[in-house]
Amino acid sequence: MEKMARVTTALGGNALTGRTMFCHLDAPANAISVCRDAAQVVVAGRNIFKIYSIEEEQFVEKLNLRVGRKPSLNFSCADVVWHQMDENLLATAATNGVVVTWNLGKPSRNKQDQLFTEHKRTVNKVCFHPTEVYMLLSGSQDGYMKCFDLRKKDSVSTFSGQSESVRDVQFSIRDYFTFAATFENGNVQLWDIRRPDRYERMFTAHNGPVFCCDWHPEDRGWLATGGRDKMVKVWDMNTTRAKEIYCVQTIASVARVKWRPECKHHIATCSMMVDHNIYVWDVRRPFIPSAMFEEHKDVTTGIVWRHLHDPYFLLSGSKDSTLYQHIFKDASQPIDRANPEGLCYSLYGDLAFAAKESLISSDSNRKPYIGDRRHPIFFKRKLDPTEQFEYISSSSALSVFETDVESGSMDWFVHTAKQYALAGRPLPELCDHNAKVAKGLDRNQVAQTWTMLRIIYSSLSTVSSTNLNHSMGKGSTTLPLMNSFNLKDIPSGLGSESRLDRSKGESRSENILMDSSSTLMNNEDNEETEGSDVPADYLLGDVEADEDDLYMMDHENPHAEEQEYSLPQEAFPLRHEIVDNPSALDHLQDKADSPHVSGNEAETVSLTPVESFSLISISHSLYENRLPSDFFNPIVRDTLLFYAEQGDVQTAVSVLIVLGDRIRREIDEQTQEHWYTSYIDLLQRFQLWNISNEVIKLSTCRAINCLNQASTTLHVNCSNCKRPMSNRGWICDRCRQCASMCAVCHHVVKGLFVWCQGCSHGGHLQHIMKWLETSSHCPAGCGHLCEYT
């Protein structure tokens, strides 16, 4: 056995060969380490301590170091390290606090050499000096680090971190005397091996325990640390203050970090919990790992590069009781799977599109969209010439397509949101007000809706039927022609897509006709609009209508009636929405009051005459019958659904709020919630915070209401001592002074407090506003040019 252990294969530094392979261990591994010549690996764990040789095709067990009958906790290893100077020398850290050294050169079966039982708690890490044969360092849970001279029986020096448990210790590669230690409380300390009384430097690297650290093999003075806070940080230790130069956010707490040999910016990590993969990161590109090994089935506990100068072979041990050799060319590269294109719609209808340059350039040859207003902007990221490794081209281009100002403008949305009245007045007033607002913005259809709502829900009696407008279509006369054309040519299957199934009780052929006509129109239209977004409604012309008159275009009514009395002469089902088009044809361009609506209303207009014909007969019956107002609920519901579907969730939500209980039961909770969230989202994108808050307040959905109640805490620091205010009063706990003083009037601010984020001075909103009218400097006299947004 011992002869085999001594066998070393004479592999040259760069001549490593092999493939991705693994072998089963008998027990979970806690740590692994390689021999200097990269031919053997030692695996240590609670119940395993073995040496494997790494052959071309497989791992071969060379030596089992767990000898002896009695199980001993001395064999229960938390860490193992193989000396990089002497291939016979190993050290292990036992969970019971013992540090053991092993000499493979010993002739007996038991290779145990020395036993140091100085630590009181579990030893987390052992580390040999990179150039000094006899120097061993250990770090333990008891908060001490000890340096052993292997020629002596006891430790030569003890370093007390004065803080918590030591999680990792690493000798610096640059400085002979320096080592780094990481602690459970997030600190990293630098020590001089000659001065055990006090650390040279200390800084807080992580929030929570720092599990591991690794000195950069070449760029001396870089230290990588990994912590429970899921971060890998690279520190530049050359300056007087340790400076964080890179930071990689991983998805789980980081258990080990190891710099990749020969690659200045690459680092391998594995995690302590949950995530079983090994990642190799380029620290300059912290969002996506450059390579990933996914073989393990349980958490990886030990990773080590097989050779000091070979970046392609990585060995790993895991809790799933396997030992793996990973070959870099077999690694999966998440970048390949990442979506290299990005697409985003802006608030104002602009579209940004980023893709690989190659894609864009080939694309720009053909010009598919005629009259397209696009302003491509190209961004390129040049490849780093020093980085010859496996990067696919990262140059990409970003194009921004702007919609033209008029059609994409969302001004109407903002104005409407600001001017609508949603509560606080009687319903008819609210409706009138809102109708006026809509009207003012040339959104006649919406205005009409509000007016109708007012009529339906408030004062049926005040309406005299004589006021009815008999709307006469002024549309084109192509209608009959179109109808026949549609009926003939459009396959009935098209109808299924459409949302028009609302019109219950209609005969099938009518349905088809409806849908197909709208689809047809869409086809003629530009590609952006889809069939479902198009309001395939019939526009009712009520040209004669005076502004102040009521438009009695209540085609809800015909719809309802339809079920009772069929209207045989109708070629078309009756639709709900009214669009007031005093001069339909002139108006077409201005009609784009909803972002999805485009020019296709031109076609719909043509259908008007038929509709208005039916309307005349029906609307009379309505006012004679004096129906109860909730009779219309289904229709109002359909109206709201229609608006929401059309993309005008604003109208839907506003009506919902204004009508309140009258309509709420008609629409299922989920839909309402969906509308509310969409509307609130839109409002917030337009930074209409007050309005969005009002909507939240007025909403009746529980889920929405509580949006206002979540995260209402605001953490502030005391303006005097800059410490967090833990007390909820006006006085800071620490400096015993009133924290929120107004810089202008020197009184405590209770209520609205505004302050400059630059100098943190501020005060009463009114006072500050007044002050800023005359001066742009801070009222506290600190000389800061205050900026308030």
Binding site: L73, G208, D733
Partner: protein, 552 residues
């Protein structure tokens, strides 16, 4: 009842603004007086109430509750203005001829004489801040807080965690949280916690029907019953199959985040039940058993003492620091310190062999099950509480008592710091951090005193207690010599620990008094904090390990 509460708004009292409080109190006072006036003529007729204050006619019921609450405020509100005002209202009511309640005089704890606890009137500034925080969050200052305030540093962390678990953003709805609290507390028949949370549960809009027993709660909560049972009594039996069972996709399944929340709540309330019994927390003044409408002359008999298993109440009160300062008990402390010093010094010399260490752990584990209270009679679960859980017979069972061999849980393989924390924080953000802080404070809390001695390093003793508790749950530290436990913890102390941790409902005042007789009450509360946190961590470790296994 909730209807009545709605009528009288108490929430204004939680404000930090004195004016708001005063206004709120005024309204309350008026409402109460109004109601009292309508009842007063009735009450004047002797037979209706003379018989029994508690069984008064229904009309009185609502008022009694209000009065009880007012009484609580007059005694326990951290704001002096509220205290005075409520007392004034009470006396006004009394003048109307209505009997007002008076507290049953125990103070916050049955074990600790009232005069030795911190009084609400004379707390210092830090404590006052804590009280105010607690009052603002809960609308009351509960007895647990009043006892824990011996250790303000810990209390702060405790309240923060509890507040987060119950009231802040989290995957579970509020009434679920309180119901889970009830379930957990009921496992230990802790009527104190059950009563508190029944009120809170109703307050956040929980369905009163659920309170009739677990079988009336939604299936989802019923599914949690099994886990609750095991966590409370035999956490080492939890396997990934149990977790799978709860998480498997079906109508009533749990999500991982919800499950973590539930597990943290369960363990929190199991261990809080330990604290409640371990420190002999008295019923809240405004809860049943905390006050009486009888005149003081009637015997001092209290229902709750029986139901909670406080058999020792009638014992002659022997103050631990008072009368029996026998030489023997003085020696106790000295002997303990001597032992600690010895262990500190000669630990390197007599290095025990590995097998020796292993057997020491096994022995301690084995022995811990023989450590049983001598008064091991079964007390019937209190009537109110028992309906919240099924299977009353299921209790703490020691490891090998039934020939079951449970593999030892090695902390080096799954520890809170490395593994548990990451899992909790991943699934229920920030709670990992809060719990971590709480464990940390509890484990490291020290004033470097032992009874009358100052400047003592108690870390060894604290570690022994912590590890002993974990040992009872089969959790082993490789780097600990379990022989130390035997040296440092004497038998009566072990009995106390074992009882409080495993069968808290059997804790008696005698047990509390008989260990560490020379020590201060605050030190005994400190011990309880260690018990609470060690127990919570042990349960969490088992549950989280099972969840981890499920996830891999």
């Amino acid at each position: 009842m909730e209807e009545r509460e709605g009528e009288v708004r108490w929430d204004g009292l939680c404000s930090r603004d004195a004016a708001t409080r005063a206004a709120a109190l005024d309204t309350i006072g008026q409402a109460i007086l109004r109601r009292s006036e309508t009842i007063a003529p009735l009450a004047a007729v002797p037979p209706t109430r003379a018989a029994d204050g508690l069984l008064a006619p229904a009309a009185r019921d609502g008022l009694s509750e209000l009065l009880a609450r007012l009484l609580m405020l007059s005694k326990r509100c951290p704001f002096p203005d509220v205290r005075e005002k409520s007392e004034a209202i009470l006396s006004e009511v009394q003048e109307l001829g209505i009997r007002i309640p008076r507290p049953l005089g125990h103070g916050p704890s049955r074990f600790i004489p009232e005069k030795e606890t911190i009084q609400v009137e004379n707390e210092d500034a830090t404590m006052h801040a804590l009280f105010a925080d607690s009052f603002a969050a809960l609308g009351r200052l509960d007895n647990v807080t009043l006892v824990m305030v011996f250790h303000p540093q810990y209390l702060e962390s405790f309240l923060k965690t509890q507040h987060y678990l119950l009231q802040m953003d989290g995957p579970l709805p509020l009434h679920y949280r309180h119901y889970i609290g009830i379930m957990a507390a009921a496992r230990h028949q802790c009527s104190y916690l059950v009563n508190l949370h029944v009120n809170d549960f109703l307050h956040v809009g929980g369905d009163p029907k659920w309170l009739n027993g677990l079988e009336n709660a939604p299936q989802k909560l019923q599914n949690l019953g099994e886990l609750n049972k095991m966590l409370a009594h035999r956490p080492w039996l939890i396997t990934k199959e149990h977790i799978e069972q709860l998480l498997k996709t079906e109508e009533n399944s749990w999500s991982l985040a919800e499950l973590i929340h539930a597990v943290v709540l369960l363990t929190h309330y199991h261990s809080l039940a330990s604290f409640t019994f371990g420190c002999g927390i008295s019923p809240e003044i405004d809860c049943e058993g905390g006050h009486t409408f009888r005149p003081p002359s009637v015997s001092n008999y209290c229902m709750c003492d029986i139901t909670n298993g406080y058999h020792g109440v009638d014992e002659i009160h022997a103050s631990p620091t008072g009368s029996i300062t026998s030489a023997e008990s003085v020696c106790e402390v000295e002997a303990l310190m001597e032992k600690m010093k010895q262990l500190q010094e000669c630990r390197d010399e007599e290095e025990a062999s590995q097998e020796e260490m292993a057997t020491r752990f096994e022995r301690e584990k084995r022995e811990s099950m023989f450590v049983c209270s001598s008064e091991d009679e079964e007390s019937a679960p209190a009537r109110d509480v028992s309906r919240h859980f099924e299977d009353t017979s299921y209790g703490y069972k020691d490891f090998s008592r039934h020939g079951m061999h449970v593999p030892t849980f090695r902390v080096q393989d799954y520890s809170w710091e490395d593994h548990g924390y990451s899992l909790v924080n991943r699934l229920y953000p920030d709670v990992g951090q809060l719990l971590d802080e709480k464990f940390h404070i509890a484990y490291n809390l020290t004033y470097n005193t032992m009874a009358m001695h100052k400047d003592v390093d108690t870390s060894m003793l604290r570690r022994a207690i912590w590890n002993y508790i974990h040992c009872m749950f089969g959790i082993r530290y490789d780097d600990y010599d379990y022989g130390e436990i035997n040296q440092l913890l004497d038998r009566s102390f072990k009995v106390y620990i074992k009882t409080v941790v495993c069968t808290p409902e059997k804790t008696t005042k005698r047990m509390y008094d008989s260990f560490w007789r020379q020590f201060e009450h605050s030190e005994k509360v400190h011990v309880n904090l260690l018990l609470v946190e060690a127990r919570m961590q042990a349960e969490l470790l088992y549950a989280l390990r099972a969840i981890t296994r499920y996830m891999t």
